[in-house]
Symmetry: C2
Subunit: 623 residues, 2 copies
Amino acid sequence: MTTITRADIGLDTVAELAAQLRVDAIRASTSAGSGHPTSSMSAADLLAVLVARHLRYDWDHPDDPRNDHLIYSKGHASPLAYSVFKAVGVVGDEELIHGYRRFGQRLQGHPTPILPWVDVATGSLGQGLPDGVGVALAGKYLDREPYRVWVLCGDSEMAEGSIWEALDKASHYRLSNLIAIVDVNRLGQRGETDLGWDLDAYAARADAFGARVIAVDGHDLAAVDDALTEATDPGDAPTVILAKTVKGKGFSEIENQNGWHGKPLPPDMARRAIAELGGERDLTLRGPRPSGDGGRRGAAPAGSPAPVAYELGAKVATRKAYGDALVALGASDPRVVALDGEVSNSTYADEFAEAYPGRYFEMYIAEQQMVAAATGLAVRGYKPFASTFAAFFTRAHDFIRMGAISGVDLRLAGSHAGVEIGADGPSQMALEDLAMFRAVHGSTVLCPADGTSAVALTNAMAANPGISYLRTTRGAYPVLYHDGETFPIGGAKLLRHSDRDRVTLVGTGVTLHACLAAAELLATTGIQARVIDAYSIKPLDMETLATAAGATGGRIVVAEDHHPEGGLGSAVIDGLVTSGVAELHVAHLAVREMPGSGTGPELMAWAGIDADHIAAAARALLA
Amino acid sequence: MTTITRADIGLDTVAELAAQLRVDAIRASTSAGSGHPTSSMSAADLLAVLVARHLRYDWDHPDDPRNDHLIYSKGHASPLAYSVFKAVGVVGDEELIHGYRRFGQRLQGHPTPILPWVDVATGSLGQGLPDGVGVALAGKYLDREPYRVWVLCGDSEMAEGSIWEALDKASHYRLSNLIAIVDVNRLGQRGETDLGWDLDAYAARADAFGARVIAVDGHDLAAVDDALTEATDPGDAPTVILAKTVKGKGFSEIENQNGWHGKPLPPDMARRAIAELGGERDLTLRGPRPSGDGGRRGAAPAGSPAPVAYELGAKVATRKAYGDALVALGASDPRVVALDGEVSNSTYADEFAEAYPGRYFEMYIAEQQMVAAATGLAVRGYKPFASTFAAFFTRAHDFIRMGAISGVDLRLAGSHAGVEIGADGPSQMALEDLAMFRAVHGSTVLCPADGTSAVALTNAMAANPGISYLRTTRGAYPVLYHDGETFPIGGAKLLRHSDRDRVTLVGTGVTLHACLAAAELLATTGIQARVIDAYSIKPLDMETLATAAGATGGRIVVAEDHHPEGGLGSAVIDGLVTSGVAELHVAHLAVREMPGSGTGPELMAWAGIDADHIAAAARALLA
């Protein structure tokens, strides 16, 4: 075995490395019986030059803050990624060949951060570059380290709009530390890509979006080396290297042929391919090590945020409380950063932007990029809070899903949810957000009803793992809780109860106020109702709910400003049934028709989720 | 009242119209107390010239197939849209001023197709242009009518990647019938846009994406008129007109000032603005009428699709059955069209593409545009079927949600769902799709377990209103049903039952096969189990489920290849509880942890949704 560790590995050695990467990509995928060898072979020369001569990375210390970052936006090139890991000596040949894509193993079909050298999960195309924008924002504006963010993109994924959101933001924020290498191998899964080998077309687009563009023959090692050098020249813009490559490069039987996407070579073909590539190799080498002083800026340990208090009964929109809490959090924890999708004056993220302009990133109307940037910032240890109208998080659903796979901690705040918003109409009304966020693995879904709880839950999100979602109200409602009241994630509040409760009313956010009013209505006719503030929808406080169910004969009215599927009602019913509550009589009030415009109260009455309807449902359960 | 109807309305009259549009936009929004007058005023000159002199539209017959189309991608300019409707005499002044944004009225905060002159709902930015691509595809390739598709875009929404997906596809398909007019008023909601008034930057981008670009002073009526004329010159590319405009144009107190987005003028300011604009007007005029012969091509009535049959017990992937059924449908109904996101050889949409290349639209890897194009095709009366991996429909969640508001009929087929797919890993595993689609208003969610039912349900979708979703398997499983068996939407199949059933097993798709195997296992120990194929998850066959619950002591095991929230288990439990089933003992088996790679069977065992786990859960319920 030859081990080389130096910054000036010669191109003859790089050529050997490239051949090894191809051979190993073939071996791993043929052994696994699945995977993408041809998509790996097209990019092998690019990666060989990058890893041997340009990527500044301490492979023994992947968490060294000075390290460059390398993201495989074309995550299906995992055989290449893992072959690189073998070549630098962090993954053994045995694991590469016999672990790849196997159950219980870490070399999964697409890279995930289970591996310490992987920043983010990829495999849903068009996400690695947007994620890289977030890492590069951290590098340039927060860490202020000279590390670079290298992103290997496929040409097919250039059809995703998110790629252009990423380049738009990368040039807007002058991310000269971001280098996209596009493997233009002409062939997608089912045939030729939209633009084929028209590098001029790609170049015009990337140039128009503000990138420095370098076109290169992706199999000319010297030219690639020059391109990577040029990409790291000081500048004021991100770089896009357009590398013309050949899919399956290195094995003449399949080079540049359609029909070989995502297919391992059968063993006999693999043997011929490996022979043509000069046989197996066992080269280990490492390229340049990172520079910079490694001092993480803004990483001081967090203190407690200053209290934000509202007077009981004062009318406060929970979106305003979110903004207030975020400012306090920002003062106590320099790792807190905020992003918004051009509606910060509605979500109140503008309060943070004004207080900490250096830690606020305006993402304009690009929700996919907003969540991806938050993901990249989280990779670097920051605590991103990203906000927009709750409805528009649906735009970033795939990014939120992938964020969960990446294991990053994101805090997402959606304002203007449900019919409560009134006149703007259904396009602006989130009525699916609770279902979407609940189904994300490991997520937390919060919906405070007042300013006090909104502040407490914003603070709680700062320390919460995984994807946390806070739904806030457009309208201002009375403060219900004293300053100092605690709101643990997974808890609920019993706002009204007695020994004579005959029915339980469960609300969240705006419907909690309707439940309280309904309880008053019921009390006038002698019916005592228990009222639960389900501010934590996931996890849900099953103990409080089961106790209430038991105390009120299983009679429960759940009201939510959301479509009936997958939201609070679903959480309550599923939770009670699967926790074994025997007797249940549930009225589930939700928005069952398509709303139009109106005032919030008109629409809540129309939807049947206001106090009158809650009281009527309770009476019906008692009839 | 002056009524003018002719194609050559003079620019002096157009100027009067523009003033009226501004005045009416102010009046409507001030009266409503909300809305976006300033965003309407910037575009008023553009719309006045367009409507008076270029839009070929029979306002009395909005469904005339020869009509041009006009989509407000910047849907918040609804005061402008509705003021245009008044100016052409289809909406009265009373409705405009006193109906706008009011409860129960049709002039909603953002346009929806409740209005006969509105094609699609807008208001979530970056969707109108992608929808317009679909309408233009229909015009050029299917209707073969000379109508044009005019789309008014905001400048803020140019930051959405979906806009660039749209231009990419518009140029790829040479949609010279598509004309985007971008109202570059420089100001977004919270401040200046990313690119401000940098028309050159916009021009470079649009040009690079293949559009014919025309830059114009958006308040110079003659220049705008020339630009619109030029835009309709014969050509081979879509046109993007970049109109430099002033937000709030026409009222000197607020022109080009930040802080006036989405705010109606207070009454006193409104009075001054109307005075400055020359007072109220009551001009009614109509511009050119449509041309073309109006003969709809491809609109022949549908016959019945030829039968597609599989042998009982033969192993068939339901994705393959989808492709087979789609081909048969295509033969019987010329309105059936198909789209795919560059994975047609996985979804089997390629069978349709091969059989009917003229009715297949490759959308490459751009799922947002794929759903939007389907929406636009549906606007023109076609029956779009759009397919990709189930996981990647999350990318288009906002478009699906808006499709429901638009009231279009879309058929979406997602393959490769759940851990069943095996080695590719979590990025490719839809585990949230059922929750996402169930929460869409008016949706239908289907998940066939075998080839016969997959064919039947694909056929059923063709006639089904709203958003229909079909989840198909990657793997091939035995055909369970005889050819000719019927599968009504909202039904379920009792695959195994007896008088001695002690537990009910409910599965869908791949887990139905696991339920059948579990029933065999249970039978070996003397336990009879009822097995239900819940192929229709929404609507769900509550009668069959309630009967089974009653017959088996409320003991139900539900197994699904999906996260536990919002999917089949949730549908079953919610349905049984809210339909009043008293006694329930439910075991809900779902994918509760983050999967990795492996084989499908390994991962189903790991997740606890295979036959062994289902049988064990049944035994535990009986213990």
